[in-house]
């Protein structure tokens, strides 16, 4: 540290120039991503509200089957698919796309290209979702889980995704850094995989049990190639970025990514264990599912070691709080999923509410929580406005965390008991229904808490978009470009 004073002076000036240039670059990139990101995030939040409401109504309908029972469009069998599609293709996909746009600019250190395509994509995507949901409500469901949207709606969504991917690939091609960060691997892979998967699945190539195999290959691979990469890309960026410490091990990142790509694509047929499919195919899927221990372990060790010694930061950082919760849930849901795929667990858990609890652990406690964290990080930077009421974020976090905990525990316990009862033939079937009833109420309570949390979140989000609420102290990274450039 002991350099001659003159040399120090020079390096000091260069350093100051460097800082100014870096900050201007970053602000310029964030600005270029701002409009499309806000559009994607805002539509995502809208679909989150719609999806939560649908899910809540459907959930209460299992408790009070005659409630709102008089009309076809609001029967359980139509609201449930709309809930699933609204939260996955609506909330997670749109908010995830918003996060991807912003991350793309940051990680490629360049401004977003072909933004017109992004606007078009977001609009088409919303049209597709609206069309699809309306058609399912009106009774034109495609009839396969995860693929309920009939062809016109699916085609619009596929087109929207392809436009989105084009803009992202163009931005990637124009990147100003040589190194491609680990989050980008996941994003680029998912941008390649998902359009292929979605088009193949909607093309109607199969029939009979072949179609069932395709259905569950799709159902699980939508998670593999789209929802999980969103969550992992977010976790890989935000945990080191918020803490200010590089990711623990890049070797592990490589191992994690390639084992993820290799094994996760073979998952899915364990949804048909004991079903009418060639035995070997189901076994291969179970093996692939268990091999997922490798990438999950790699990611878990990486994230844990990165955060180690800095976990106290979750007291200060809303983003870290949500993302760490999400990353821990990823480990939990993946381990649970691997074990759940095995024959002995599946014999009990299959066909019960246990699987619903597992699905929500993955899609909510993992992906959705990471996305909440991402929104809390991104919005102030692109809206140039701090979250006005930090306490609302705390309220949101605890409502969501408590909600998903109650939801998951109820359904896991209730579903397991249901499965045990169902495998005991001396228990009449109706008693397997009766014993789940208290747990289904628990699910409704958890769902209510989450929905209230989402309303709080949406209200807060609106405030930031409108730059409303008390102006808080402005941390340095929220300055506008002009302020930075001014001496």
């Amino acid at each position: 540290m002991s350099r001659p004073p003159a040399e120090r002076q020079v390096s000091r000036t260069i350093a100051a120039d460097q800082r100014l240039s870096d900050e201007l670059t970053r602000i310029g990139i964030d600005d270029s991503a701002a409009s499309p990101t806000v559009l994607f995030l805002a539509s995502g939040v809208a679909w989150l509200l719609i999806g939560s409401l649908m899910g809540l109504i459907a959930s209460v309908k299992l408790d009070l089957p005659d409630w709102l029972g008089g009309a076809g469009p609001i029967t359980f069998g139509r609201l449930r698919p709309v809930h699933l599609n609204a939260v996955t293709y609506g909330w997670i996909s749109l908010a995830g796309s918003g996060m991807i746009v912003w991350l793309m600019g940051r990680l490629c250190r360049t401004h977003i290209r072909w933004t017109a395509l992004l606007f078009l994509s977001a609009i088409l995507w919303n049209i597709g979702l609206f069309l699809g949901s309306a058609l399912v409500i009106l009774g034109y469901s495609g009839g396969m889980e995860w693929l309920e949207f009939p062809l016109p709606a699916a085609a619009v969504i596929a087109l929207a995704f392809i436009l989105f991917a084009l803009s992202m690939f163009r931005t990637f091609a124009a990147r100003q850094v040589e190194h491609v960060y680990v989050s980008l691997w996941y994003i680029l892979a998912s941008l390649t995989w998902f359009p292929l998967l979605y088009v193949i699945a909607n093309a109607g190539l199969y029939q009979g049990v072949g179609e069932a195999a395709m259905n569950w290959w799709y159902g699980h691979n939508a998670i593999t190639v789209w929802f999980t990469p969103i969550g992992l890309a977010g976790a890989y960026y935000f945990i080191p970025k918020v803490i200010g410490r590089p990711i623990y091990s890049y070797y592990l990142g490589l191992l994690g990514f390639w084992s993820f790509a290799l094994f996760y694509n073979w998952n899915g047929l364990h949804h048909l264990v004991g079903g009418p499919l060639p035995t070997w195919a189901i076994s291969v899927s179970i093996v692939a599912s268990l091999m997922m221990f490798v990438p999950v372990l790699a990611v878990a060790v990486n994230h844990h070691m990165t955060a180690l010694g800095h976990l106290s930061m979750i007291r200060y950082s809303p983003t870290l709080r949500f993302v760490v919760f999400g990353a821990m849930s990823y480990t939990a849901t993946s381990f649970q999923g691997s074990l759940e795929a095995t024959r002995s667990v599946q014999e009990v858990a299959h066909f019960t509410h246990y699987t619903v609890g597992h699905a929500h652990l993955g899609m909510y406690a993992f992906v959705t929580m990471v996305l909440f964290g991402a929104v809390y990080y991104i919005m102030p930077r692109i809206a140039k406005w701090e979250w006005p009421y930090p306490n609302l974020i705390k309220v949101h976090f605890w409502l969501s965390a408590a909600g998903i905990a109650i939801y998951f525990l109820s359904l896991t316990l209730g579903g397991w008991l249901q499965g045990l009862a169902m495998n005991t033939p001396s228990i009449p079937f109706i008693d397997t229904v009766n014993l789940t009833k208290p747990y289904l109420w628990g699910r409704a309570v958890g769902g209510t808490l989450m929905t209230i949390g989402h309303c709080v979140f949406a209200y807060h989000f609106l405030l930031v978009i409108h730059r409303a609420g008390p102006k808080r102290f402005a941390p340095v990274w929220f300055r506008k470009a002009e302020e930075v450039a001014a001496p």
């Binding site: 350093a15 460097q18 800082r19 870096d22 900050e23 670059t25 970053r26 940051r106 990680l107 850094v177 040589e178 190194h179 491609v180 960060y181 680990v182 960026y237 080191p240 970025k241 918020v242 803490i243 200010g244 410490r245 590089p246 990711i247 890049y250 070797y251 490589l254 010694g309 800095h310 976990l311 106290s312 930061m313 007291r315 200060y316 950082s317 809303p318 983003t319 870290l320 809390y376 990080y377 701090e386 979250w387 930090p390 974020i393 705390k394 808080r472 102290f473 941390p475 340095v476 990274w477």
Partner: protein, 74 residues
């Protein structure tokens, strides 16, 4: 599809796939993709001179009186 042709297809696909994967792996080794330098740069590409290593970037719940640059790592 009968058993033997199916097995044949799978074996061929496996051999071709495995050799491609091995080729990619050795190419990565030869071009030093796993070098300390590469991995170091890779891991810190999300930082720049302002939001540098050692600087937390999200402390909304912190009391306003505290300096932004202050470390909170435990």
């Amino acid at each position: 599809m009968t058993l033997l042709p199916a097995l044949l297809v799978i074996v061929i696909v496996a051999i071709v796939g495995a050799s491609l994967a091995l080729a990619a792996f050795f190419w990565a080794l030869r071009t030093k993709q796993f070098s300390v330098k590469q991995l170091n740069e890779g891991a810190s590409v999300i930082f720049d001179s302002v939001e540098h290593v050692g600087k937390p970037t999200d402390q909304l719940f912190k009391k306003p009186g505290l300096q932004n640059d202050e470390q909170t790592s435990g």
